[in-house]
Amino acid sequence: MSFLSLRQVDFGFAGWPPTLHGIDLEVPEGEIHCIVGRSGCGKTTLLKLAAGLVAPSQGHISLRGRPPAEAIADIGFVFQAPTLLEWKRVIDNVLLPVSLRRRPEANDLAKAQGLLAQLGLAEDARRYPRQLSGGQQSRVALARALILDPALLLLDEPFAALDAITREELQRDLLQMCRNGRTTVLFVTHDIGEAVYLGDRVTLMQAGRVVQQMPVELTRPRLSVQRTSPSFTGLCARLREAMNLQAQPA
């Protein structure tokens, strides 16, 4: 049985045409699974279904054999915007998932400090989010999602607002953190290169349907030089073709 499984899932808001049709998705444990598609194709809705934030109108979703709403403690979520609490210091933002359950203890604090250090923010723990750059804020959001060692990490275009260089740095950080924790990842993006660089498998969505799934057969650990390798560009080209991007004249 796979770790996260969606079978024949439909979703629609009452009185509106469905936004997702017949989604089948199987994510094995430890896999980094990327979902690519244009804006409005239902990627974010799919992620919210996997998180148990919304319920499917039809079909079945299970996370380790349980409905996701029951497994909420095992899920970390990173939103499009960092969504930090501006009146709390960086360290308290990272510890928020802990402090909503119980009083944070010394080992929680040490762990939060450790995560921040891994993300190059060791010096910024006592600062406020407004004193950080956009990339640093995204890193804090990532640390917050990882503080409880989630079995499943859901990311919704977390790096879309960042500049290209910062984005590459954060992609590298994400891979490093997830490899350490053996976390299963579902990563939603509209950036084909990002999906291929991060993913073990890429699912292509169009207008609320899964149109193609593609394994990414690149060696790990992924290195920046691979971004220019023929196999990498070949995969990107195949995805672009599948999205009907290749044939259009500029």
Binding site: Q80, L85, R126, R127, Y128, Q131
Partner: protein
């Protein structure tokens, strides 16, 4: 808030001095009766006499107490009702129309009724002051709590936060700047409520003193009391600003 530079402060003080001098000159030179417009020097005399003899102090204390009690009662009730209405769409639908209608009635027009119900004295003035404070704080609380960005609410849901946690640890901190802006408005309106309440419903307090001065045709005394009211208002406003800055320190402090 930015502080005005010293040069501007000095210019502002000079302007005040010039206005007072012009007033003094007009009161003396034009031969206006002190009954109509007393010269600033006479107002100052009355002010000093009242303060030194201890005549003003019980009245000042009474108004300050009415202000404090009225603000405390009105703001805490306004805050509690605001939280209840923001959190429950059922209550909002049920009660908000009545609350709004109740605010359309000029509250000071209710003073005679309150004197009938609560008697002539402090209770009536506290009630009217509280009633005036209630609405801006309730309004600000409802708006503040309901302006939380949806993704933050989703974050708290994802983290398994209870409703109370979402209220205390997300909605209130997010709405706090707006709620405190409402408090500032409430405090200013409260002074109007307290003084006008005392016009009608009390024999003590700065409002009652204004009426007494009018009755004895002692215009310099009336002006002196107005100066005291202005000073009390400034003090209340500054204290509110201090409180606001203190509560919002983690929102603005540089580190």
């Amino acid at each position: 808030m930015t502080r005005a530079p010293w040069g501007l402060w000095a210019a502002s003080a000079l302007l005040l001095a010039a206005l007072l001098l012009a007033w003094e000159w007009a009161a003396r030179g034009l031969g206006l009766s002190a009954l109509v417009l007393p010269a600033p020097s006479r107002v100052l005399q009355a002010l000093w006499k009242g303060l030194a003899s201890g005549y003003f102090w019980p009245h000042l204390r009474a108004t300050a107490l009415v202000l404090l009690l009225g603000i405390a009662a009105g703001c805490s009730i306004g805050f509690a009702v605001g939280v209840a209405l923001a959190e429950s769409s059922l209550l909002r639908g049920l009660l908000l129309p009545y609350v709004v209608v109740s605010q359309v009635v000029p509250k000071l027009a209710l003073m005679p009724l309150f004197i009938l119900w609560f008697g002539f004295g402090m209770t009536s003035t506290v009630v009217i002051t509280a009633l005036i404070c209630f609405f801006p704080l309730m309004e600000a609380t409802i708006t503040g709590l309901r302006q939380v960005p949806p993704e933050r609410l989703e974050l708290f849901r994802m983290l398994g936060a209870t409703r109370a946690q979402a209220l205390w640890r997300l909605k209130l901190p997010t709405g706090l700047p707006g709620i405190l802006a409402g408090l500032r408005v409430a405090v200013m309106l409260a002074l109007v409520g307290a003084v006008v309440g005392e016009f009608m419903g009390s024999s003590r307090g700065l409002g009652a003193l204004v009426i007494a001065a009018q009755g004895s045709m002692d215009t310099p005394l009336m002006f002196a009391v107005l100066v005291l009211i202005a000073a009390l208002g400034m003090l209340a406003y500054q204290l509110t600003l201090r409180l606001e800055r203190w509560l919002l320190r983690s929102y603005t402090s540089p580190g």
